[in-house]
Symmetry: C2
DNA sequence: GCGCGTCTCCTAGATAATCTACATATTAAG
DNA sequence: CTTAATATGTAGATTATCTAGGAGACGCGC
């Protein structure tokens, strides 16, 4: 039963990445740390999910990537949000809100 | 791009079904209607998702099924929640709350 | 009596996201 | 000198959900 060990809600990864990148240019490894940190250790992005997702988002023109130097002086690929990515983030966020509210309506339905 | 046409948040269907069944015995077709209705048309469960899910939940011992007669006098399979199913619903609900709160933390992170 | 929409069940195959597990290189710390 | 952390990546498995079918029964309008 993998659902309970899942560190993510399926379908939210793209949105989470876009949001974190929207806070400022950041490299892949940093994105996963930031998501963990902001979510207080609740959300954990596996590397096997992270990198394919980054490539996917880049391919769709939502992220731009450029090699640079990390805080520790290492080579790292820094991602930033394109205008298209910004629009996508807005769309996904509003969709998430609609759906999450709807789920809560069900969960709070009178016993 | 299927994410925006999705009538569901991936991974929540089992929980939604368990919750609706927890409100009282109900047949499959009724479950999908009820989810749509309570969610104010936001959540839409396709039949191709619904029936496999019901069989899955039954197989895991969370639901019990029995043939009966619907409100319209037709043959319908009525589902009810087993004790195991009740525990599962509680677990999934608390997990959902944890994850949904964490997602919101990210989405509300300072710009 | 016919056709149509709705109710109610079902399955097969496609799609796509995420995970596990692996591989690699560099640096810091012990 | 070896382990942990930083940083990137891929291949293959798993699994949920969707699309697109099929089927039977009932009620209603004509």
């Amino acid at each position: 039963m993998p659902p309970e060990k899942s560190g993510l809600l399926q379908g939210t990864l793209d949105m989470l990445i876009l949001k974190v990148v929207a806070l400022g240019p950041i490299h892949g490894y940093g994105i996963s740390q930031r998501i963990r940190q902001i979510s207080q250790e609740v959300l954990q992005v596996q590397q096997g999910s992270l990198y394919p997702a980054l490539h996917r988002l880049q391919k769709r023109g939502w992220l731009h990537a450029a090699w640079g130097e990390s805080e520790n002086g290492r080579q790292a690929k820094f991602y930033s949000l394109s205008p298209k990515g910004r629009r996508q983030l807005a769309a996904e966020t509003s969709n998430w809100n609609r759906l999450a509210m709807a789920v809560m309506l069900i969960l709070e339905a009178a016993q």
